[in-house]
């Protein structure tokens, strides 16, 4: 079962850079241990929170894109939950949405191609008419 998920989590702003590196690498090893793959890790940096969370006004956002099954997500969420500096996390499944977007894009591209094609054929007909 291969699905794509996006895991966004917030760690406290006073967390040391090395600790964050360590946390991310442990998550990565957890992913590979559960037969999943890490697509990308994006550090979105420090951001102001929309509301206070555990008396913090800021947080460091990290976005992790992984491929794998539900068991993997279960494991990752458990790890995030027990990791003390993690303030919040959110997991979103993105493969179906991506599929929908690809489909729309395909239809749009096809339509774009279809529009110039009929315009070209009358021209061709005209030229033949002129030559005849």
């Amino acid at each position: 079962m291969n699905r794509t998920y996006e895991l966004m989590f917030i760690v406290r702003p006073d967390m040391a850079e090395e600790d964050l590196d360590k946390l991310i690498s442990t998550l990565e090893t957890a992913v590979s241990a559960t037969a999943g793959t890490v697509r990308s890790v994006e550090r979105m940096g420090k951001r102001r929170l929309a509301y206070t969370v555990r008396r913090f006004h800021d947080g460091v956002y990290v976005l992790l894109t992984v491929e794998g099954g539900g068991g993997l997500i279960h494991e990752l969420e458990r790890r995030l939950r027990v990791t003390e500096p993690v303030l919040k996390f959110l997991t979103v499944r993105i493969d179906e949405e991506q599929k929908r977007l690809d489909k729309i894009k395909k239809i749009r591209d096809a339509r774009k191609k279809a529009v110039p094609a009929p315009a070209a054929t009358p021209e061709g007909g005209e030229t033949t008419a002129v030559t005849a």
């Binding site: 966004m8 929309a50 509301y51 976005l63 919040k88 894009k105």
Partner: protein, 118 residues
């Protein structure tokens, strides 16, 4: 008085809105694509209402993502509430995606549940 209504643009048209008998409150700052919501456009007695259009359909925005705070913030009132469809003109399928995206963004502290983001 009549001149005032004629000269109105979006912000000044706002106070006139509740008097139409609609139940919406004047509070939320609605992102209205295409100017005033139902404000009187012409000096005549009849109200001319500009047809509201769905921003997502017009601009062909397909993905409504919870990370896109700038986009979502246009559809959140200052109180933090999701602005209803009847004020924004967003079509039903897009409003559905929009509201779920806003709720996701709230969960990860990108948007406030209530009140302004501080």
């Amino acid at each position: 008085m009549a001149e005032e209504t004629r000269a109105t643009t979006a912000p000044t048209a706002e106070p006139a809105a509740p008097s139409e008998g609609h139940s919406h409150r004047p509070g939320p700052r609605g992102p209205r694509p295409g100017g005033g919501p139902g404000g009187p456009r012409e000096g005549g007695r009849k109200y001319f209402r500009r047809k509201k259009v769905c921003k997502f359909c017009v601009e062909k925005i397909e993905s409504i993502n919870y990370k896109d705070v700038r986009l979502l913030a246009q559809f959140v009132a200052e109180s933090g509430k999701i602005v209803p469809r009847r004020l924004t003109g967003v079509c039903t399928p897009h409003q559905r995606r929009l509201s779920s995206a806003i709720k996701q963004a709230r969960n990860i502290a990108l948007l406030p549940f209530a009140g302004r983001a501080n």
